[in-house]
């Protein structure tokens, strides 16, 4: 079977003709249309198509627009020269891989061919393969097969938009079965992109494209590589890669730079390939601030927008304001392509702004995972994202037409998490085993299979009872070979924070000792961003007592690297996003069991758990943790299967009302607050309550509220 990966090409007609011919001939392998550009010492080489397969090895194609006249020997010589350049570029590129060499020679025979729109008559002075599309099948049939042991290393070399991360040496590992040793094996496997990621990175339709995938499925890598790929194909395009968490800036820049050096031996042109925060600030521009500058509008900063629109709607408000300002005005689009990561965290008005300022045919790619959304609003529809016509029909509908790049991609394999951790994250995130019932659910039940679950029992229809488990094809097999589920997931309930901190510190001491983990293999996640600074102290002290340094990431700046070589990283949930570690401790998980805006709380624990690359420890204290642990217990009893009734459309509506929409909850809270304040004032006025009777933090808050700092200063000035 022929797998076709559709990249960005202008030579559509000839490319589709080649695909048809290869399909008809039953050629097996992978055909990359418009393979990423290759660089030689002094030139860049476009590869119109690359075919790799067991029966014929490696063939690089050039697509010519015209057949030169038989007498035009110069024209033919130029074509031959181009083929030679292509040959040497590939030869040089592959020679770097030891696994593809045999002695001093390249073990893979590189074939090159130029395909013409019609049968060429090649002059006898010219050597090489020059064919029409129709003649390919016969020619390929005459090629020698590839040595079977070379196929895998060859594919891996070609997918070498790869080496996503430098592999750790782990020189301290001495025991064969230690956690450090297990990680060493896992890390050897994970360094390459898989076929899904590779396809998603290269496939680029002339229009919008959506990429969905669970945490750890490689969305950020795919977007970064896609941006770099588009940039190498179209150096003159103005491309923006944008995101919500500022922490991603460095990660995305690094990916792009690595890819660019691998292919072009050079830095990308950062003037045209822009890595931009969605908003931007005074120190660095963002998509919003660039657009505002282009419209000669004053860019709004967070302080303004927060005051004007409220904290949670600040960015949405700023974008809407700019949209309104540009509405009906003649504008000049700024970008040829925009790639948006963490789309779940960005408001529809931002998408509409991007849509307006991206050139036709609106190459906007957005990647998201709804369950990592740390706010309440549901993921907007296509109409809300890019607008609708008068009839309410969205301007865009996504489709995956045969023979063309896909517009809607789901990355089904989760590399980061063990299947048990991921199932746990879904069980707690959705509230599958929660006593009060589900907290939230996908709008489409079929998404379960798309994100890598296998239906064990039942039907994926609303109202049906189902049993789901991770499909073995949705995670790398090494997890089952190397890690036992009992050790992959451990949950603990403690009496209080101190007891919890001691256990975490003791476990980490063991991790760093007999487990042979390194200090930056460990991450402690604090779910409550408001209390994280207060709660981190207990953990830091407990670790320090055992001689282990630790730090709370992002106290002073978000630009700090979260991990350190000398200190265990502790991070609140927002700082944890986009990061991962082999051993993750989610502490104070009780915070996520119940409360106001429950779907956000459950998304927080989902996000925390999915930071783990091998082992997850879910800890907490008090009765709420006991109940959360009971949910985890039920998952274990069911052998890490999700057994539950799929919600009907009506149930889904109810879930949104209860756990997402704020109005009812907010009203109750305000009523309670009013009542509390009334009681407080009455008690105070009766003299039954002195400030000394209040807990210290309430004293501080009250004194700040009643503080007359400003007034005193004004009075002093008056008296001078």
């Amino acid at each position: 079977m022929l797998e076709v990966v559709y990249g960005q090409t202008r030579k559509h007609v000839i490319a589709s003709r080649v695909v048809d011919v290869l399909n008809q001939a039953g050629v097996a392998g992978t055909l990359y249309i418009a393979y990423p550009v290759l660089a030689t010492a002094d030139d860049r080489i476009d590869v119109d198509a690359l075919l790799v397969g067991p029966e014929h090895g490696l063939i690089a194609f050039m697509f010519a627009d015209l057949v030169p006249n038989g007498g035009d020997l110069e024209g033919w010589r130029e074509i031959q020269l181009e083929q030679d350049r292509l040959y040497f570029a590939i030869q040089n590129n592959l020679s770097r891989h030891e696994s593809l060499r045999s002695g001093r020679e390249l073990a893979v025979k590189v074939q090159t061919v130029t395909i013409f729109p019609s049968e060429p008559h090649t002059p006898k002075e010219i050597t090489g393969a020059f064919l029409s599309a129709e003649a390919i099948a016969g020619w390929i049939g005459s090629l020698p097969p590839l040595r079977s042991d070379l196929l895998r290393p060859l594919q891996s070399a070609l997918q070498r938009l790869t080496n996503i991360k430098p592999i750790k040496k782990r020189a301290n590992v001495t025991r064969a079965k230690s956690r450090g040793s297990i990680l060493k094996k896992i890390e050897r496997e994970i360094a390459n992109l898989d076929q899904w990621q590779k396809r998603a990175a290269i496939e680029s339709p002339d229009g919008p494209q959506r990429i969905r995938g669970l945490a750890g499925s490689g969305k950020t890598v795919v977007l970064a590589l896609k941006a770099a790929y588009l940039h190498t194909q179209h150096p003159d395009w103005r491309i923006a890669v944008t995101f919500h968490s500022r922490a991603l800036y460095q990660q995305i820049t690094d990916f792009i730079r690595r890819f660019s050096f691998e292919h072009l031996n050079d830095e990308p042109n950062w003037e045209n390939l822009r890595v931009l925060h969605a908003w931007g600030g005074t120190d660095r521009s963002g998509v919003y601030t660039e657009i505002a500058a282009a419209c000669e509008a004053e860019p709004r900063d967070f302080l303004y927008a927060k005051t004007r629109f409220g904290r949670s709607d600040a960015f949405a408000g700023a974008c809407s304001e700019l949209l309104a300002l540009t509405s009906g005005r003649q504008i000049t689009p700024l970008y040829d392509a925009v790639l948006i990561d963490e789309a779940q965290d960005l408001p529809p008005s931002f998408f509409q702004l991007v849509y307006r300022f991206t050139k036709h045919p609106k190459r906007i790619v957005w990647a998201y995972d709804e369950l990592q959304k740390l706010s309440e609003a549901a993921m907007p529809s296509m109409g809300e994202l890019f607008g609708s016509d008068e009839k309410g029909e969205p301007y865009f509908q996504l489709a995956n037409p045969i023979g063309q790049p896909r517009q809607d991609i789901v990355l089904p394999v989760c590399y980061r998490n063990t299947p048990w951790a991921l199932t746990l994250a879904h069980a707690l995130g959705f509230g599958i085993y929660r006593n009060g019932g589900l907290v939230q659910h996908f709008d489409e039940p079929s998404l379960w299979t798309e994100v890598g679950y296998r239906l064990v029992q039942g039907q994926l229809s609303p109202g049906e009872k189902v049993q789901l488990e991770r499909d073995p094809s949705s995670y790398p097999s090494y997890f089952k070979d190397l890690i036992h589920p009992d050790d992959a997931v451990i949950s603990m309930t403690f009496k209080n924070q101190e007891e919890q901190a001691n256990w975490v510190a003791e476990s980490i001491e063991k991790n760093l000792g007999e487990d042979e983990l390194e200090i930056d293999d460990i991450l402690i996640v604090l779910p409550d961003a408001y209390l994280a600074r207060k709660q981190a102290g207990v953990l830091i002290e407990a670790l320090l007592k055992r001689g282990i340094n630790s730090h709370l990431a992002g106290v002073t700046t978000s630009r700090d690297q979260i991990f350190s070589k000398t200190s265990v990283a502790i991070a609140n949930i927002h700082r944890s996003k986009g990061n991962e570690a082999p051993m993750v401790y989610v502490v104070n998980s009780n915070h996520c069991f119940s409360g106001y805006e429950l779907s956000t709380l459950r998304n927080i624990i989902f996000t925390g758990i999915t930071r783990s690359r091998a082992w997850i420890r879910v800890c907490g204290y008090g009765p709420e943790m006991e109940q959360l642990e009971a949910e985890i217990g039920k998952l274990r009893e069911n052998n890490f299967k999700l057994v539950f009734k799929l919600p009907s459309a009506k149930d889904l509506g109810k879930l949104r009302m209860i756990h997402r929409e704020r109005t009812a909850d907010e009203k109750t809270r305000i009523r309670k607050a009013e009542q509390g304040l009334k009681e407080f004032l009455e008690t105070w006025q009766r003299g039954d309550l002195a400030i000394e009777n209040l807990p210290p933090e309430l004293r501080t808050r009250l004194s700040q509220l009643l503080s007359s700092e400003g007034k005193e200063e004004a009075e002093d000035e008056d008296s001078e």
Binding site: H551, T556, T557, N572, P696, T700
Partner: protein, 222 residues
Amino acid sequence: MKTPSSLTGEIRQFLELLLLSEIALYVNPVVVRPLGKGITRITWCSTSGIGLLFRRKFATIDDYCGWLEANAFSAILYDGSIIQISYDFLGTDIIGHRLAYYPCPFELDRELILTEPILDVVSLYRGKDDALINLRTPIRFDYDPHAGREGHPITHLTILTSACRWAVAAPLSLGHFCRFIFRHFYPHLWDVHDFLRQWPQHLGVRTITELDEGTLHVACMR
């Protein structure tokens, strides 16, 4: 008599109370570091941040941000101001201290600094609107017997410029520093928190010279 261990405990307890009462947003752990020749330093533990201290001009916004970037502080207060507490011991004798208060140069959004990294919040204010800058000087009480000379009293208070050193009669205890800062700059907290008002004071042996005693200086009877 204070020992390194008892003073470490005292500072730790003080910082814990600041955190518990939400006066501090964040406190760094207290650590004891051997400096060699029998000297130990009780100071803040800065395990993150750039770790390098570039000297910046005293009483500038860069100066304030520099300490934060280096994670060199004992506590960040709820308004973004920072406190540094550090003592040096030779055996059981206190032979140096640095007690500093760096007021936040901006009136930061209180809700934002609860969750966002403080320098990220500061960056929203920097260079934007000079009208929002609070002109407040850092206050630093240093005790350094080796550095004593004319114009550089052994114990002194630095304010406004790095060369402005007011003589202080004797080395100060944590209680003195705490009272000075909270009574004068946070009267509303001073009023409601008895631990601030009652933190014990122990004045060290007088270090002030006759010459300095004859000019305006800082002194305390207890």
